[in-house]
């Protein structure tokens, strides 16, 4: 009985988190288009629903009814596999992410996370690293120049930014003396780690921008030079899989920024429910991503590599060194 209840609880949590993550791209695309519009003195979507809120639904329906094109020369099996491979890891990452502490419901203690792993951080980086396969497979299987170039770029970019990103969180792990995200958040009850780790946060944030393929690091789908990069040949639902995964990765990076450096659900000055604090902070980071997108131009490929290897990597190493000295 006890076991059945536990299994039911976990299943319910997984279903809820998955549903939220699947639905989240809908308000996010709307928000992104609205922000884009207003930054350019436009109104953005306006005609479907109140202020265009239903526009993403209309777009989703459109994508559903689109013809599903597979190029003749494409590697059909890989081509079909790639969107799924790129979609699954961002969802799996959320297994290890806590959204808050626990609360009691009907006398039972319900935790706001699916699992609290003692190697949570490591798990997240390992799984998130798998996403690159979807992009590589997609570009390779399409058998087209643009797609291949896009996926090559993406591959090099993700691999080179994974390293400073991994190093930048070592400082946090050293301070919290744990890799469990729950412990990391609890250790920030008094002071957020961004105070102790400004350099670490900077490196993490920039590398996160690159990992999420957001401007100014969205070279894999540089519209101006590569058509649409690795998903040039995709249409309909398969294309929307890539889009959903992109938004979920953006949410993941925002959530990680908040958990690792901005105290997770720990409030500050204003007493609000922890979950509200968490959502507010994540929302701020998501807004930041969108704001960046419509402000900055894209970096050149060699600049991208130079930033990754010549700036972020030494900075993240220096950060580890400084943190070590600081702790001793």
């Amino acid at each position: 009985m006890e076991l059945a209840l536990a299994v039911a609880l976990i299943t319910a949590k997984v279903v809820i988190v998955t549903a939220i993550l699947l639905i989240l791209p809908i308000p996010l695309t709307w928000l992104e288009r609205k922000i884009a519009g207003h930054i350019q003195q436009r109104l953005g979507p306006m005609r479907v629903g109140w202020h265009g809120v239903l526009q993403p639904v209309a777009d989703g329906l459109k994508l559903l009814t689109k013809e599903d094109n597979i190029p003749v020369e494409a590697d059909r099996r890989l081509f079909k596999l790639a969107p799924i491979i790129s979609l699954v890891p961002p969802f799996v990452v959320f297994v290890a992410i806590p959204f808050g502490d626990s609360f009691s419901l009907l006398g039972a203690e319900i935790t706001l996370y699916i699992s609290d792993m003692n190697v949570g951080l490591l798990f997240i980086f390992a799984v998130a690293g798998l996403e690159v396969y979807g992009v590589i497979f997609g570009g390779w299987a399409s058998n087209s120049k643009y797609a291949l170039l896009g996926s090559l770029r993406c591959c090099a970019q993700l691999i080179s930014y994974e390293i400073p990103m991994g190093f930048s969180v070592i400082g946090v792990v050293m301070l919290a003396q744990s890799m469990s995200l729950l412990d990391i958040v609890n250790a920030q009850a008094d002071v957020w780690y961004v105070v102790y780790q400004p350099l670490g946060f900077f490196v993490f944030f920039v590398a996160g921008l690159a990992e999420a393929q957001r401007i100014p690091f969205d070279l894999a789908e540089a519209e101006g030079e590569l058509g649409a990069g690795f998903h040039t040949e995709y249409s309909g639902m398969r294309f929307s899989f890539f889009m959903i995964s992109e938004y979920v990765v953006m949410v993941t990076i925002s959530v990680l920024c908040v958990i690792l450096f901005f105290g997770g659900w720990n409030g500050f000055l204003i007493p609000l429910p922890p979950l509200i604090w968490f959502i507010l902070k994540v929302g701020f980071f998501i807004y930041l991503f969108m704001w960046f997108r419509f402000t900055f131009p894209r970096y050149r490929y060699d600049q991208l590599m130079a930033i990754g290897w010549k700036v972020l990597l030494p900075l993240s190493l220096a950060n580890i060194l400084l943190t070590g000295l600081f702790i001793v």
Partner: protein, 195 residues
Amino acid sequence: MGYRTMATDDARKRNWIGWVFFADLLNGLALTLSYLFSKTVTMRYPDKEKWTPYPRFRGHHFLLTDQAGKIKCVACELCARICPCSCITVVPHEDQNGERHPKVFEVDTARCLFCGLCEDACPVEAIALGQLYEFSAYSSGDLRVGRDELLSKPGKTRQGGNVIAARLNTDEGVRVEPKEEDEDGHDWWTRLRRK
């Protein structure tokens, strides 16, 4: 001399500090943020607003009448001759008083390129291009406009170049009707932010 080096040193120091703290990127972000909260310039055509063209605008043709209400056109066919698209058909007709008037006067607006040459060529200023621009149709045959319809088309107005409040009406064709309460509208250009 001393002043000058100091100034350049100062500028260099500022540049260096600015470089470390991404002053240029922050400037860009501040600019886009201020744009985010500035007024939008989108004209909400066809739902809420509509553009009234300037009097010089070349829209749908119309035929003029004289004071007596008779059609001005004398069916000289000059407009038909000069028309680069050959889209005007004029069939002249002489009435009892010996006055020439068109029996058939047809403009194929589907082929017309709205160059306005017909207006320039007309010796009696009987034809002109007005400010009407909403006359889409489902079939190109519907775009052939005959004499009586041309006589009933709206002429030129003095004002123009404004955005006025309007509403969309799709009962017959697609028409955006201006709302009465907002005759003058607002000048779209003043809303543009130029910085």
